[in-house]
């Protein structure tokens, strides 16, 4: 055990524990030997109890006496049993400072065992899905329920309980996909994560240039815009943005560059939001707020990822069936 910063605390705990047990044992032994005077001339009644009360002989404030209401002998034996228990426990389990105990039990070990037991128990439930393809799983209501629970546990903090996403976190219910909506692509996304980055163009375009490009971007999806600025922005877009977003602005799923011609806006559709994106980029530094998709390949097994992918895929691909 490496939790102690110095060997002193190890010793400190051992001494405290041993001293406490020894003190308890001494107390039991000592009180077991204490004798107090029985009431004088105690007339034994039929039940055998003395006719007068016993006092321990302790007196406070001149007249405050302590009654002796003796505990039964078996009660003190119970205390001895607790001491035996403590010693046996400390031999078997960790407790005396950092001594591990002869059983070698640890809480992390117990967690791992339980986790392995649990995994072994639920594995058969997941196994059958490994053999199915994703559209099949998406059509299975039981699998969708499991998928929903997995989604609520692992995905909903960013993508929302309804998978509708939020600013910076894509909506998974629509048919628009940053990296592609094929079942295999979704599995890749969940397993390995995604980190889409857009550089900032404030330096390149200048303030006016940013406004011009913004106007052009808004024009692509038919949003109200300044048409003169739109005209000015078009060549700048072709020069700076088309590499990723494509000449027609329809994006590129290989890079995760969004389609700019539809009405789906990851970071907002307002002029201010688009201009900020053009000028400062996205996901560049943690200080400005990064929204990467983490890799779940290490947390979840392949079957769980497959179920999740089927759930997410099903959200936008089995609509007609679900809306009956």
């Amino acid at each position: 055990m490496s939790d102690f910063t110095s060997g002193f605390w190890n010793l400190y705990v051992i001494v405290l524990v041993v001293a406490s047990i020894a003190a308890c044992a001494w107390l039991l032994w000592a009180t077991g030997r204490v004798k107090v005077a029985a009431p004088k001339g105690a007339a034994k009644t039929a039940s055998g109890s003395p006719g007068q009360v016993q006092v321990t002989g302790h007196v406070w404030d001149g007249d405050l006496q302590e009654y002796n209401n003796p505990l039964p002998k078996w009660w003190s034996n119970l205390f001895w049993i607790t001491i035996v228990f403590a010693i046996v426990y400390l031999v078997l389990y960790p407790g005396l400072g950092s001594l591990p105990g002869v059983l070698g039990w640890t809480s992390t070990g117990a967690y791992k065992t339980e986790r392995a037991d649990f995994d072994a128990r639920v594995q058969p439930l997941y196994d059958k899905y490994l053999a199915m393809d994703i559209p099949q799983i998406a059509a299975d209501p039981a699998a969708q329920q499991t998928g929903e629970r997995l989604f609520l546990t692992y995905c909903s903090p960013c993508h929302g309980s309804d998978a509708g996403g939020s600013k910076g976190f894509p909506n998974l219910r629509d048919r628009d996909w940053l990296y592609g909506g094929e079942p295999a692509t979704i599995v890749t996304t969940i397993t390995g994560g995604r980190m889409g980055v857009m550089p900032g163009f404030a330096q390149v375009l200048g303030e006016e240039g940013v406004r011009d490009v913004t106007a052009y971007v808004r024009s692509l999806s038919g949003l109200p815009h300044d048409s003169l600025r739109g005209q000015l922005g078009k060549p700048m877009f072709a020069q700076n943005c088309a590499a990723c977003h494509g000449g027609d602005g329809k994006g590129n799923t290989a890079l995760g560059a969004p389609n700019l011609t539809d009405d789906i806006w990851l970071f907002g559709s307002s002029e201010a939001a688009i201009a900020e994106g053009v000028a400062k980029g996205h996901n560049l530094n943690a200080g400005a707020g990064v929204t990467p998709m983490p890799a779940f390949g290490t947390t979840l097994g392949p079957a769980q990822i497959k179920l999740l992918a089927a759930y997410v895929w099903g959200l936008s691909n089995t609509k007609p069936a679900a809306a009956k």
Binding site: A37, A46, P72
Partner: protein, 480 residues
């Protein structure tokens, strides 16, 4: 004897140290052999033993609407009591039940001492049952004392084996019944006979059986003397007008044996003939003539015993009787003792008890069968679902506590143009089931100033608009 308000044995001064008679702080328990007793109070106790045990052993076997009438399903966290299903959210009713129990204990104790201990406490009840079995097999007090003192013989072996077999059988049945409150009892019976009990079921049946056998067979009065906290704190609720089991010292002393023909007045004796019946019948082995003691569980066995002796002697009953300290000290009449039962303290306890019981009854009658939790999504405050439309996401949990499936309609109110997106017009929730679903609310971005707005989510049953519930939540409109 001097009256004191805390009823413990009164010490007549410190005893002088006595060199050759010393005692320790621990003592060896002397086994108590209570003599059987009949009479008015014994009949009350038998009646209460039968009443409580008919309820305890019988209740799990009752059926109600095709299910066990009383079942505490811990795994599903549903607690069925006849027509009502309690959910963990209804824990307030358990609290109220505990408060009512505590107040009843206060009231009964203030009026007549440890009535609970003497007549209804499971420790007393099971001890009474086990003693009854013991008497059937081994005989009454004297026969038992003789049997225990005798060397082991075939008769002793047979009697002891019979007794313990009967005890263990009853204890196992008690454990089985107890677990039957938590697992359907018929199914449990089936699994017991097919040797298919779950580990924890078997553990609790055996544990409860062991506790019953140990406490009622072996521990008996030691539970009350050494272990029970209620035994001790009931003493605090006594006052000078509390009826306790009391020996009338003025009438009884000086005690002494005499022939039935002797006139005690002439012989200079009180009414106590010192026959020690009151000590022999006492289940805690005390002598009530020494005054009220903490060991006294208020079972009134000594009253019944003494009354029989008084009848035989031709003396009036009640040398040992229910009397208050004031009554004994001031010689109050029976009428004035009963009038003192109605004193501010008992009236107050009764009033509070009635008020809480009525409130709980009304609340139970008006209990809303639906519950709904609304949880805002934490990850995102708000989002733009399509240009100009702001969306907040919630998770709602609908709980239908009725044992019939219901169809609900959801509506929302509180902001202009607020609407529920993508939800079927009606939602079905199964009998005594919950449903968790995401709820998306949409508001035009210019519907109100940016910030947090109170909204009201209403759920109502389609077939019965009276079954409805409001839950408050907030809708957040972001700055553009």
């Amino acid at each position: 004897m001097e009256a004191k308000s805390i009823p413990i044995r009164i010490a007549p001064g410190a005893p002088a140290p006595d060199g050759d008679d010393e005692v320790g702080l621990y003592e060896i328990r002397r086994k108590i052999y209570p003599r059987s007793v009949t009479g008015k109070f014994a009949n009350w106790r038998v009646a209460l033993v039968i009443a409580t045990q008919v309820v305890f052993y019988g209740l799990p076997w009752l059926y109600w609407n095709g299910r066990q009438a009383v079942l505490f399903d811990l795994a599903a966290r549903k607690f069925y009591i006849f027509g009502i299903v309690f959910w963990p959210q209804d824990v307030i009713y358990l609290t109220v039940l505990l408060i009512l129990s505590a107040l009843s204990l206060f009231l009964f104790t203030a009026v007549a001492g440890r009535l609970w201990c003497g007549y209804a406490c499971p420790q007393t009840v099971y001890t009474e049952i086990f003693l009854w079995i013991e008497r059937r097999i081994e005989g009454d007090r004297l026969a038992r004392i003789r049997l225990d003192a005798a060397p082991l013989s075939l008769e002793k072996f047979v009697k002891k084996t019979l007794k313990h077999t009967a005890w263990v059988a009853l204890a196992l049945w008690t454990g089985y019944t107890f677990v039957g409150y938590f697992e359907p009892i018929r199914d449990l019976g089936l699994r017991t006979f097919t040797w298919n009990l779950g580990g924890w079921e078997a553990f609790w049946i055996l544990f409860y059986a062991f506790a019953t056998y140990g406490n009622a067979g072996w521990m008996r009065e030691q539970v009350c003397k050494y272990m029970c906290p209620y035994a001790r704190f009931q003493s605090v609720m006594f006052d000078r007008d509390t009826l306790v089991i009391a020996y009338d010292t003025k009438r009884g002393e000086p005690r002494g044996s005499r022939s039935r023909k002797t006139d005690p007045r002439v012989a200079g004796l009180g009414d106590c003939i010192d026959c020690s019946i009151c000590v022999q019948v006492c289940p805690t082995g005390i002598d009530i003539r020494e005054g009220l003691q903490y060991e006294c569980i208020g079972c009134a066995a000594c009253i019944d015993g003494c009354d029989q002796v008084m009848d035989k002697m031709g003396y009036p009953r009640g040398l040992i009787r229910y009397a208050s300290e004031n009554a004994l000290a001031l010689g109050q009449s029976a009428g004035s003792i009963w009038r003192r039962v109605l004193r501010p303290r008992t009236v107050f306890y009764t009033a509070v008890l009635l008020a809480i019981a009525t409130t709980a009854g009304v609340a139970l009658y008006l209990k809303n069968p639906i519950k709904m939790d609304v949880m805002r999504d934490r990850g995102a405050l708000a989002r733009e679902s399509s240009p100009g439309i702001m969306e907040n996401v919630y998770r709602i949990q609908i709980m239908n506590t009725d044992e019939v499936p219901r169809t609900f309609r959801l509506s929302v109110d509180g902001l202009p143009g607020i609407r529920i997106a993508d939800l079927p017009a009606t939602l079905e929730v199964g009998a005594a089931a919950t449903r968790l679903l995401p709820l998306r609310l949409q508001v035009p971005a210019d519907a109100a100033v940016p910030g947090s707005h109170k909204i009201d989510i209403v759920i109502e049953a389609v077939d019965d608009p009276k079954v409805r519930r409001h839950e408050k939540s907030t809708f957040i409109l972001p700055k553009p």
